[in-house]
């Protein structure tokens, strides 16, 4: 019994860390632009696919990840420049539909480029799996959780202690006010897309050795990241992180204690309950802007 609980926690935290990073990307784009960016999962997929491609070409791990992140980030910037910026005056619904369309196109192009095979690579530095109190921690788990932790700390420092970070926050709080003090909201929107793409690419890169990647990995991950963000309430970063972890742990507990066949039904049922109970999510302000 004890070892089972530990196993569910380890599994939940490692999956939840991926959901949390994915959710944070949603949060950043949403705060600045009020757009739910459905290309999220495709960027996680791209980050993973590029990493595994470069790695299997013989490029060492760290440069392979860096290259993957840079390229994926550039695609994120291009998505904003080519699609979102020209359409910025459209209604949020139109913009959201645009991101859905872009996600489908990205998946199609990726399928042409990489084919349909599922890909994987060894755990980073061939880290061995560990036995903890009778439970198993896969070799990649410390890398996933560690990376998530570092990114959260890095984001905190960025938002609290850099001018760019503060400018982003001001756009999120009050776009009109930000414009009045001379901050280009459009430029901040671009930064948010870049930043989100980078976060997603890193999530994709650390995820591959543990759960593999294929060109179809994007949409399911987008849904999980979105759920994480909604559970936490889209408006606050700590809420999103907690939401991601809660989702991961809830999945593991539901699969372990109740019924693995009902896992998704149980987790989605919980989500509905949470949103009915607190319309803004666990810690958030989602839905509090409009009353109806």
């Amino acid at each position: 019994m004890g070892s089972e609980l530990v196993q569910y926690l380890i599994s939940g935290i490692s999956q939840g860390s991926i959901y949390a990073i994915a959710g944070l990307g949603f949060f950043i784009v949403y705060s600045v632009t009020r757009v739910i960016n459905f290309t999220q999962g495709e960027f996680v997929m791209l980050g993973g696919m590029f990493t595994v491609t470069f790695y299997t070409m013989g490029i060492p791990l760290l440069p392979a990840i860096l290259l993957a992140v840079i390229i994926t980030g550039a695609i994120g910037g291009a998505l904003y420049g080519l699609l979102m910026y020209p359409a910025r005056r459209a209604s949020p619904i139109t913009l959201i539909l645009l991101t859905i369309g872009a996600a489908i196109v990205m998946e199609g192009i990726a399928q042409q480029a990489w084919g349909l095979e599922t890909r994987s690579m060894p755990y980073f530095l061939d880290t061995p799996s560990l036995d903890i109190l009778g439970a198993t921690m896969f070799g990649q788990t410390p890398w996933i959780v560690g990376t998530a932790l570092l990114m959260v700390i890095g984001l905190f420092l960025f938002f609290e202690h850099t001018l760019l970070g503060k400018a982003l926050r001001s756009c999120a709080d009050n776009p009109l006010g930000a414009r009045m003090v001379g901050i280009s909201v459009e430029r901040m929107a671009l930064v948010s897309f870049l930043l989100a793409a980078i976060l997603w690419a890193v999530a994709g890169a650390v995820m591959v050795p543990q759960i593999m990647v294929s060109v179809h990995s994007g949409i399911p991950l987008a849904i999980k990241g979105l759920l994480a963000a909604f559970i936490g309430g889209l408006g606050r970063a700590p809420g999103v992180i907690a939401g991601g972890l809660a989702l991961g742990i809830a999945e593991a507990m539901a699969a372990g204690f109740i019924d693995s066949g009902l896992r998704d039904a149980i987790v989605l049922g919980l989500l509905v309950a949470i949103l009915l109970w607190r319309r803004g999510g666990l810690m958030g302000r989602l839905g509090t802007e409009q009353q109806w």
């Binding site: 196993q7 199609g108 399928q111 349909l116 095979e117 198993t136 179809h216 693995s260 896992r263």
Partner: protein, 397 residues
């Protein structure tokens, strides 16, 4: 994915059109509903390669009685509803003689009642016996089944000392996974076994350590991975890392090249034994094997066109086209008579049903009015993985 249905019409070998009718009408029209996008695309894409190879081979050799085969392919996007829409279009618009489709159990289940009601002879591709019930007048399935990929594993487990009596199942949360598990639970008692753990995994690969923990902490003496997706391969990898050393078995798809490539060395554990088709390890078969020459011929044909080794899926679909060929050769319907389509379809259906000892690449099939599956055990072997290679562990006869 939403871009829509992809229409592919292969070039016809024209000169051979049979007297009277136009060139269009003189070909046998085969409609295929294949998953080319979505989660089942890893099954559908190679299957389509196998279909195209065989159709072109037959056409290059002059068609069937001088009539070329015309292939119309739609993508069902791994989605039941799209499969039904596609099959309706094949029946009503393309007016095909034969439907071929449903690479996975879900889409296959969805199209079966539609073709049956419309009266179009149909071959289902998915490999689970749940599709054989109820028996449908127009639907045939010269494919694989649980008989192929469960019974050899159970026989092996029973031969161990001490014999396995309690088994755990980890299954894809799909129609395939459910069908296989239901069959396993039903047949296990005949082998003195019972299923003590039954866990589901998402067909999208993920961390399945909670499910494996349930297996590890149970009294199960063997684990069957009822999966046709990379998620099952990943589950086996994680089982190895979690120190699960009880015998592990699984069906053919877990040994197909892309899943093997993704799982890599983690498959090379001594307790893993998979069922595979003889075709995929034909080089290792003894010279006395009656099918070795046929495998070698297909292998050569396939490599000449695609420059890679054929996988099970390729052989599987090539077999369906050969099955259609033998039926058309016997039925000899006149494809030029546009107003007698229903008659032609009925003749082909009857030829499907009277197929006797069709010697396919994966099994030998004999159909009857009460059996539209037609095989007992296919041409299979048990394999293990050693030094990056599939190695025959046990031949089955």
């Amino acid at each position: 994915m939403l871009i829509g249905l992809i229409l592919m019409v292969l070039p016809l070998s024209t000169a051979l059109a049979c007297g009277g009718g136009g060139e269009e009408a003189a070909s046998y029209r085969i409609g295929a509903v294949i998953s080319q996008t979505g989660p089942y695309a890893s099954l559908g894409s190679p299957q389509l390669e196998g279909i195209e190879l065989m159709v072109d081979e037959i056409n290059d050799a002059g068609g069937i009685d001088g009539h070329p085969l015309k292939l119309v392919v739609y993508d069902d996007q791994s989605d039941e509803m799209q499969a039904v829409l596609a099959v309706r279009k094949l029946i009503d618009v393309d007016r095909v003689h034969i439907v071929l489709g449903g690479v996975a159990a879900g889409p296959a289940m969805a199209i079966a009642p539609v073709v049956d009601e419309a009266g179009v002879p149909t071959l289902l591709l998915a490999g689970t016996k749940i599709l054989d019930q109820p028996l449908r007048h127009w639907v045939f399935r010269p494919a694989g089944s649980e008989l192929d990929f469960i019974i050899p594993i159970l026989n092996y487990w029973r031969s161990l000392e001490p014999p396995v009596t309690k088994i755990a199942v980890i299954k894809d949360a799909t129609a395939f996974g459910n069908g296989v598990t239901a069959f396993l639970e039903q047949i296990a008692t005949q082998y003195g076994m019972e299923v003590v753990v039954d866990e589901s995994i998402s067909p999208i690969p993920g961390d399945v350590s909670p499910q494996l923990m349930a297996v590890k902490n149970s009294e199960a003496e063997a684990l069957y991975v009822a999966s046709a997706t990379p998620a099952g391969g990943l589950a086996i990898k994680q089982a190895g890392e979690m120190g699960i050393t009880i015998p592990i078995g699984g069906p053919h798809p877990l040994g197909t090249p892309d899943i093997v490539a993704a799982v890599g060395e983690a498959y090379e554990i001594p307790n893993l034994v998979l069922v595979d088709v003889e075709l995929s390890v034909w080089q290792q078969l003894p010279e006395t094997d009656p099918d070795k020459a046929a495998y070698q011929q297909f292998d050569g044909l396939f490599r000449a066109r695609y420059n890679k080794a054929p996988s099970m899926w390729h052989g599987f679909e090539a077999q369906h086209i050969l099955f259609i060929q033998q039926a058309l050769e016997r039925a000899k319907p006149d494809p030029a008579a546009r107003d007698r389509l229903a008659e032609a379809r009925a003749a082909i259906r009857d030829a499907f049903e009277t197929t006797e000892n069709f010697d396919g690449l994966l099994a030998t099939y004999t159909m009857s009015p009460t059996d539209h599956f037609g095989a007992y055990l296919g041409k299979n072997v048990l394999i293990r993985f050693e030094d990056g290679e599939k190695v025959i562990f046990q031949t089955l006869d």
